[in-house]
């Protein structure tokens, strides 16, 4: 077996020098990668996935050190090579694709030159030959009009196009090993689907081995044959995609799968089960299993004594697991927790907040440039109508640029409506900027933000942040805060002692909980949450999502949940609005949105979601072309330029009618809904019966 392997990592030990001393991040990693094989590495952040990639590239940086082990690449030990020998290998035999394509491309060179450089430098090809190779490669990564693309600068390309260029650059030298570190993480779901399909296709053609690092189990399933699950620098389980996702043996792998929202899961029948605790910092190393501290099956005196060897699972060659109790655990089935009390909200409940004919236009700062054409204004929202009832969760989904964040800003008064309005509990607030809203209105609507790193002021303690909100929103006296702060922290399941800490001592999930506590200080009727879990690891995400659901049920608040993640939306929403280019393409109760008839855009979105299940195989609907820029909105249907079900000129010329196939469900499309129903196959396994 070893003779065919491209990469053979043996007992790799990596340490980082920190202020606290040398920290062992990879205590001894073993794995192999054969020619043409794709191995996915998954795990929470801080599990050493990227360190593996950087070690292979020998890019560990000044504080990182390979303390032991070998990295055999095509028979040569990369650990022992000097800089000159490494240069000859990097880029030529081993190529790497990073998460942020903009950071990998040189902004002052055309992408054509950057592509041509690779063969010119590595193989001494002349310019004409290099150009021909670059053009051919651009064709392979499916960039239309390769000649024109060659002349562009990186900033003139979209994120998806940039990532294709980076992939082309990596493959142009025909490397034996391609390392991809979160290559699709920053991309929209439809673009991600296209890039993943491209990688899968190129794999078959190029015979490069791929090391694919991702936190997204769904994208690993789509690209890889084998999966390695990493926890705290150790490979706790590895095997084929089918083995890992069909019969996960390690409790950590099971935990990752149990906490993952999928398109078929719903808060009412299958609550997410987060992994208890959090990843321990790397400088804490205990004897025995690294996962013992969070494992539900840990057995004292057995799991925590000596290092756990990896053993092959019975009857499944190639499936290794590092768990002493792997054979004792029963066969895994997707966990379906006890049904949570379904809060049956009557569909006709009166809306707390309604958005009517809301239009938001951003005018350019100066209408006219000194030279050239006048700057266009940008229409971020166009005639949006929505309503959210008391105790309901209204989810707003769409890709970047669809106007969902602008909507959140108008709701919260950070921006004001250009036309139309927002009614909050009977009061018109669409034209009221936040400064003009009364204290009562401010109390009624609060926000939870996206970024855990920016949501809390790094200079203030947690207690101060929450206390300040209590003072302003509840009018509490400064000496009457401690008890209320502790109570709010308890609501978000944090110990009261955390009040004295500053945000830098908290994990991302903890920060997001504090932000939720802060939003709850005024006991709001409406909570607007703008991508509150997008930046969190899946296990943490599950806990925060559960927390939001629980708090909402307990307090009877309305949650407006803005997200690009359809699986999370499927899980926690009661109503969903799908937005495209500032308009609502489809809106309705969650079961209706995730079953035919779909709006063609919803259909494309759903088909693009990477599903962590190797058996799940739906035909993906790939969208062509870029999203039109918001200042040149199509006259007819906004989606007409990319719609795979476009019927003809009517789509370009006439705004689509709003059809209502069922109560509360509306689709803005020219195709009659019964026709859509007939054309479309369900893309989501229906939620289990017994509702």
């Amino acid at each position: 077996m070893t003779d065919a392997s491209v990469l053979d990592v043996e007992g790799l030990r990596v340490t980082y020098a920190t202020r606290a001393g040398e920290v062992l991040v990879l205590p001894g990693l073993d794995f192999q990668l054969r020619a043409g094989e794709a191995l996915g590495l998954v795990g929470e952040s801080g599990c050493g996935k990227s360190t593996v990639a950087l070690s292979i590239m020998r890019y560990l940086g000044r504080n990182g050190r390979i303390a032991g082990g070998r990295i055999l690449f095509e028979g040569r030990d990369l650990v022992a090579l000097d800089d000159a020998a490494l240069r000859a290998i990097r880029g030529r035999r081993i190529a790497m694709v990073y998460q942020d394509p903009m950071a990998s491309l040189n902004p002052v060179m055309t992408v054509g030159r950057q592509l041509m450089e690779v063969p010119m430098i590595h193989e001494g090809a002349d310019a004409a030959a290099a150009r021909a190779r670059a053009l051919a490669m651009l064709g392979e990564v499916k960039l239309a009009d390769a000649e024109a693309v060659m002349e562009r600068y990186p900033h003139q390309l979209s994120g998806g196009q940039q990532q294709r260029i980076v992939i082309a650059m990596a493959l142009i030298a025909g490397p034996a090993l391609l390392i991809m570190d979160e290559p699709t993480t920053g991309l929209d779901v439809t673009v991600e689907a296209a890039v993943l399909d491209l990688v899968r296709e190129l794999r078959q053609r190029h015979r490069s081995a791929i090391l694919f690092i991702s936190h997204n189990l769904g994208s690993v399933v789509r690209v890889c044959d084998r999966v390695g699950v990493m926890y705290r620098g150790e490979l706790v389980e590895d095997g084929s995609v089918r083995q890992i996702f069909g019969n996960p043996r390690h409790p950590y792998t099971r935990g990752l799968l149990d906490c993952l929202p999928t398109l078929g899961r719903d808060k009412r029948d299958s609550p997410l089960v987060p992994i208890a605790g959090q990843v321990e910092p790397a400088h804490v190393r205990r004897a025995g299993c690294g996962f013992a501290g969070r494992c539900a099956h840990v057995e004292a005196g057995r799991c925590t004594v000596r290092p756990i060897p990896a053993s092959v699972v019975d009857g499944e060659p190639g499936h290794r697991v590092a768990c002493l109790r792997a054979e004792e655990l029963e066969h895994w089935t997707r966990r379906r927790g006890a049904a949570a009390a379904a809060h049956d909200a009557a569909p006709a409940a009166e809306p707390v907040i309604t958005v009517h004919h809301l239009t938001k236009v951003y005018e350019p700062r100066r209408r006219r440039r000194r030279f050239g054409a006048p700057r266009p204004s940008v229409r971020a929202l166009a005639d949006v109508d929505l309503a959210a009832s008391r105790r309901h969760t209204l989810a707003i989904v769409g890709e970047s640029g669809c106007g969902k964040s602008t909507l959140a800003k108008v709701l919260s008064g950070i921006e004001v409506a250009t036309q139309g309005g927002v009614t909050l509990d009977g009061v018109e607030v669409g034209a009221l900027p936040i400064d003009a809203r009364t204290a009562v209105l401010k109390r009624k609507l609060q926000m939870v933000f996206q970024s855990p790193d920016s949501t809390l002021n790094p200079s203030h303690t947690v207690g101060y942040a929450i206390g300040r909100a209590l003072r302003l929103l509840q009018g509490r006296a400064p000496d009457d805060l401690a008890g209320a702060i502790a109570k709010l922290l308890e609501v978000v399941r944090l110990p009261p002692g955390i009040a004295a800490r500053k945000p830098r001592h908290l994990s991302g999930g903890e920060k997001q909980r504090v932000a939720i506590a802060r939003a709850l200080a005024g006991d709001p009727d409406v909570i607007v949450a703008d991508e509150p879990v997008s930046a969190l690891d899946v296990s943490v995400q599950a806990a925060v999502v559960n927390l939001l659901t629980e708090i909402q049920a307990a307090r009877g608040a309305t949650l407006i949940f803005i997200s690009h993640d359809l699986a999370v939306v499927r899980y926690l929403a009661d109503h969903v609005a799908v937005m495209y280019l500032g308009t609502v393409a489809e809106a309705g109760p969650v079961e209706r949105i995730f079953a035919p008839p779909y709006h063609p855009y919803t259909e494309a979105l759903l088909s693009a979601v990477p599903v962590p299940d190797p058996e799940h195989d739906v035909a993906r609907i790939l969208l062509d072309g870029p999203v039109p820029s918001a200042n040149e909105m199509p006259r007819g249907c906004p989606f007409a330029t990319r719609c795979p079900r476009r019927v003809g000129a009517i789509c370009d010329d006439t705004p689509p009618p709003v059809q209502r196939p069922a109560a509360g469900h509306r689709i803005a499309c020219h195709i009659p809904t019964d026709e859509l129903q007939r054309l479309q196959a369900p893309l989501v396994e229906p939620a289990p019966a017994g509702r």
Binding site: R19, V284, F449, P495, R501, E510, N546
Partner: protein, 300 residues
């Protein structure tokens, strides 16, 4: 609690902050952190040494700073009686250097504090409000900055007379625009943070947001810059003394000492070199401390 499985019950991990003691412990920790950076440690030692010498000047200076030792005029070079020698009027250089450290170490930091206070307010307002307020403030700062400062000093000090307070005032006015520019830049970035939006959403006043939410997060680069600028102020105070518009004579002033004696450089170089060395060492001290602070800021 219907579904108790949901969450992290305790926080076993991020625990090392248990020793959050205010006051002295925090102070000591900061100081130790400073000691970990070599430039900071050296810079701080130089500055502290000067501060100690200046404070103790009345006790340790061997002579009164303005006393003429006419007998020493024959041998102005360093000797047992005058370790650093005397100047052309027979005044003990060591004593004058020690006494001369006092005004510098008061004026330079005070002027920086004044500039930081004024500049921060201007910068915060310019960055936070933007629009016409921002334009007016930035343009006003640009105008001040476009003057050749030495000429500005000469005009103002010639008009109002030269005194410690006037020097502080002039330095404050001319340095504030630089600080304002730095703070404005950081405010433009910080005001977009989500915690600022959160503050607006709970109804905080603009003044509170600027001073409590934004300014504390700008302090890192601000402190580094203040430290550098204190060093520059030492140079400027020296230059003003040299031009004869510094502190009024006869009290010792490092720049003034150079002015009085540089004509005799060919014969008695030590008379001018000693105060020059004093100025340089203090400036180097502040610069090293700034370098160290920046390092520490980058490390966190």
């Amino acid at each position: 609690m219907s579904t108790p499985v949901t969450t992290v019950e305790a926080l076993p991990v991020s625990a090392p902050v248990a020793t959050r003691v205010r006051g002295r412990a925090l102070w000591q920790r900061r100081l130790r952190a400073l000691g970990a950076s070599r430039p900071a440690a050296i810079g701080l030692s130089i500055i502290l040494a000067w501060v100690v010498l200046a404070v103790l000047a009345p006790l340790i200076a061997p002579y009164r700073p303005n006393a003429n030792d006419l007998a020493a005029l024959a041998h102005t070079t360093p000797s047992k009686a005058h370790w650093l020698g005397t100047d052309h009027l027979g005044r003990d250089l060591l004593s004058r250097i020690l006494w001369g450290a006092r005004p510098v170490l008061v004026i330079a930091p005070l002027a920086v504090l004044g500039a930081a206070a004024l500049g921060s307010l201007l910068g915060l307002a310019a960055g936070y409000y933007g629009r016409w307020i921002g334009i007016v403030i930035t343009r006003a700062c640009d105008i001040v900055l476009s003057f050749p400062v030495i000429i500005l000093y000469m005009i103002i000090l010639a008009h109002f007379g030269s005194s410690a307070w006037n020097i502080i005032g002039v330095l404050t006015l001319t340095k504030a625009p630089i600080i304002a520019r730095i703070v404005r830049g950081m405010t433009l970035d910080l005001r977009e943070r989500e915690y600022v939006t959160a503050a607006k959403m709970r109804g905080e006043s603009s003044l509170y947001i600027m001073l409590v939410e934004i300014l504390p997060n700008a302090r890192g680069p601000l402190v580094v810059d203040m430290c550098l600028r204190t060093g520059y102020n030492v140079i400027i105070i020296g230059a003003l003394g040299f031009l004869g518009i510094g502190l009024p004579p006869p009290d010792p002033d490092w720049g003034g000492m150079v002015k009085d004696t540089y004509g005799m450089m060919m014969v008695w170089p030590h008379m001018a070199l000693v105060p020059c060395a004093a100025i340089s060492s203090l400036v180097v001290g502040f610069n090293l401390l700034a370098v160290g602070l920046r390092e520490l800021g980058l490390r966190d």
